[in-house]
Amino acid sequence: MNNHLPWKSACLTAVLALGVSAGALADSHSADLDHLADEVLAGGCAGCHGTDGALSGLVPAIAGRPAEELEALLLQYKNGEGNPTVMDRIAGGFTDEELTRLAEFFANR
Amino acid sequence: MRKIQFALLFALSVLLAGAAVADGSGWDRHDAVREAVGDATPQLGQLRMQMPSVSEDGSAVPLEISIDHPMTDGDYIESIRVFATANPNPEVVDFYLTPLMGRAEVSSRVRVNESQTLYAVAHSSSGDVFVASSDVRVTVGGCLMTSDDDIAEFGQPRVAPPRNLAAGQPGEVRTLVTHPMETGLREGPDGELLPRRMIDTLIVEFEGDTVLTVKMHTAVSENPYMRFFMAPETSGNAVFRWTEEESGDTVEEQMAFNLS
């Protein structure tokens, strides 16, 4: 689908003309794309915890807390424990493996 | 390779889905519809069936069926039957029309259990058969989760007569009666099946002549709503009578129609 986009080759031409390596461009893309799947998985969390889970307000921040702690909390909520109001309904929508990824994502913010 | 095949298949299925748009084709794949069509070769594309393409509440999906066709004693649409092929009972509702209606257009609200194609089959008095279809995707919106409330009792008939009725001109009539339309297929809170309790028919008469008979099946929504046309030549009395199956109980509403 992207192959017929005319700008793609033109863009590379322009970048090359300025002496920027096409390889560096490709690298920066793949680096971004590695995070992209986790960003999408974690996207909804920002709705109550702020961008990157870092907002400390009426809802607690989750960024930078240890991954084990976050994972344990999420699993607890998923099982309906720990007196959740809404987090049981949220955590229940993810597999255990997805919850692990979420915990690691926010631990590294 | 496998991936490519899948992509092709997907593209093909999208194309096919696009081609199957609501012209009534595919009717012969369903027994109930085939039976309603009978031996005739039906005409597609003339009967119109309007339903929302996506419904967020399958318990009451608006349905409108119409056709540009004479409604004279010599040639009129005498029946329109509706089928939901993926419902537990494919029969939805049957309208038996007369020339006194003046226009072959009817509406109701019906239950659509899951995403599917619904069909309408119309017969004219001169033997023509028309088929139409409508694809409906049913999905319960996330914010729409509701909880059960009170059960409706049989009663409270409502009729909205036509505004500015002129002699022989079709005027819109809307009717509603409260009734649970319990299908006998649904579990109550205690896990037991709730007993079936249905309205069988709505019969509309004008000065003693039958204008319209509606036969209801389990797919007619709670508190049945019917909209149709009447074209009286004179002022007179209209009677609307709903009859419950089993009990035979009736609820009746009378109304004077005055030509303006």
Partner: protein
């Protein structure tokens, strides 16, 4: 990702554009001034609409790839949210507390913001025409156009009617007008709220509004009533709302559903009179009509709406099914089972942004996940919610992996906590969308 990195990206892009100058191999259009060259950017992305869906998409496009040239088109310099506008009607929040601007998008993320109305889209030429005649070229277009109203679908509710009988379903001057009318109403009056059939923006919204108006009445006009005339027999969180109303407002709120002759067919906005399907007349002292809706006008101009008036999309990417390189998010889309809510729009904006970033890089978009939580306040310290998680399955359809309501039986402290979390949600999503800090 640090801010430095983003700014660096923006600076280098600007200098590259300068460096390339007229020698650029890329087409530029300059109808009335604004030039939109791609320069060295990976792609030019235009975003129409600065609400929850559009502002979020613009931000997450730049976060994910600072080398995208992102232009946001939004007529308003100050954006008022529909969420929490009911709290303003209830007298527990002011307009400046639901107001947001585009400073963070411009200054921190390097989004170009143009305060114009998008008037036309040419999906073949890949151009957007603005109110001042400027033409923008896009490689990818994101539209978050919100809703428009189906004028006269309720007879008499035309474009002139809202000045007498406000809809207040797009926040701003309409919301202020409705509050002024409520404040000007004599005690003992009737507030009539006309609620539409599905689908419409914010399914619990009319019922939260009824709650907040009843709260205002309980404080200031104790003999006044709320009458909801509804074109539906069921509504969002009905059991929870009904229980809450009984607890706080008794018979101050009356709801009449479709089967009880609640569907309004005709409105006389000047006389504040409505007529229902079966001919019942209701006289209101303040009349609030939430009319039937459709996708925002620009979606229709772009040719991406179907005969339902809404926009069909591929739920895995929120690409419009009826045009290439156009993504539509938010209330304008057919996204059920996701509701038309600000949270859904934000979630969809992130999925569309990720899909664009991946596609520009020649990669497959990542699997889509969506979240929605709709909080509603029945009283200032009594909140309820419905929440759900959605994924696209292998066939590309949306599946609901979890969903649920607040419990029917809960003590006051749980409801108070949910009311607090409702405010926390607003604070967080406003920060995530516009960078607003409270």
């Amino acid at each position: 990702m640090s801010n430095d990195k983003k700014n660096l990206g923006a600076v280098s892009r600007r200098s590259l554009i300068k460096g390339l100058g007229a020698a650029s191999v890329l087409p530029m259009v300059s109808a009335c001034g604004t030039m939109t060259g791609r320069g060295s950017a990976d792609a030019r992305v235009v975003v129409i609409g600065g609400g929850f869906g559009g502002a979020t998409a613009a931000k997450y496009l730049k976060r994910g790839n600072p080398n995208l040239d992102v232009t946001l088109v939004e007529p308003a310099e100050v954006f008022y949210t529909c969420p929490f506008s009911n709290l303003y009607l209830g007298g527990i929040r002011e307009m400046n507390e639901i107001a947001h601007n585009y400073d963070e998008l411009k200054d921190v993320y390097g989004v170009q913001v143009i305060h114009q109305l998008a008037q036309d889209v040419d999906p073949v030429a890949h151009t957007v025409t603005l109110g001042d005649g400027t033409t923008l070229i896009y490689d990818k277009l994101v539209m978050s156009p919100g809703i428009d109203f189906r004028w006269n679908e309720i007879e008499g509710y035309d474009q002139a009617a809202p000045q007498y009988a406000p809809h207040a379903w797009q926040a701003g001057e309409q919301t202020r007008l409705l509050r002024r009318q409520l404040e000007g109403m004599d005690d003992g009056g009737v507030f009539v709220l006309v609620a539409p059939d599905n689908p419409f923006r914010c399914p619990p919204g009319p019922y939260e509004r009824a709650s907040m108006v009843a709260h205002y009445f309980s404080q200031h006009k104790p003999n006044s009533k709320v009458l909801i005339l509804d074109a539906k027999d069921n509504f969002s969180k009905q059991g929870l709302f009904t229980a809450g109303w009984n607890e706080f407002y008794g018979n101050r709120i009356e709801w009449v559903g479709l089967s009880g002759d609640g569907r309004v067919m005709r409105v006389d906005a000047v006389r504040r009179e409505v007529e229902t399907e079966f001919g019942t007349l209701h006289q209101a002292d303040v009349l609030n009509v939430v009319p039937p809706q459709k996708a925002g006008m620009i979606a229709e101009r772009a040719g991406v709406t179907d005969d339902s008036g809404w926009v069909p999309v591929n739920p895995a990417t929120f690409a419009a099914t009826m045009a290439d390189d156009i993504y539509v998010v938010g209330d304008a889309t057919i996204a059920a089972p996701m509701p038309k809510s600000g949270f859904s729009a934000s979630s969809q904006g992130k999925v569309a942004a990720a899909a664009i970033i991946a596609e520009v890089a020649g990669e497959t978009p990542p699997p889509a996940y969506f979240t929605n939580t709709c909080y509603s306040l029945i009283a200032p310290d009594y909140g309820i919610s419905v929440a759900a998680i959605y994924k696209t399955d292998s066939s590309g359809e949306v599946e609901v992996t979890s969903s649920g309501l607040s419990p029917a039986e809960a003590d006051r402290s749980t409801r108070a906590l949910e009311a607090q979390y409702a405010r926390g949600w607003y604070e967080a999503i406003a920060q995530d969308t516009w960078g607003t800090r409270y």
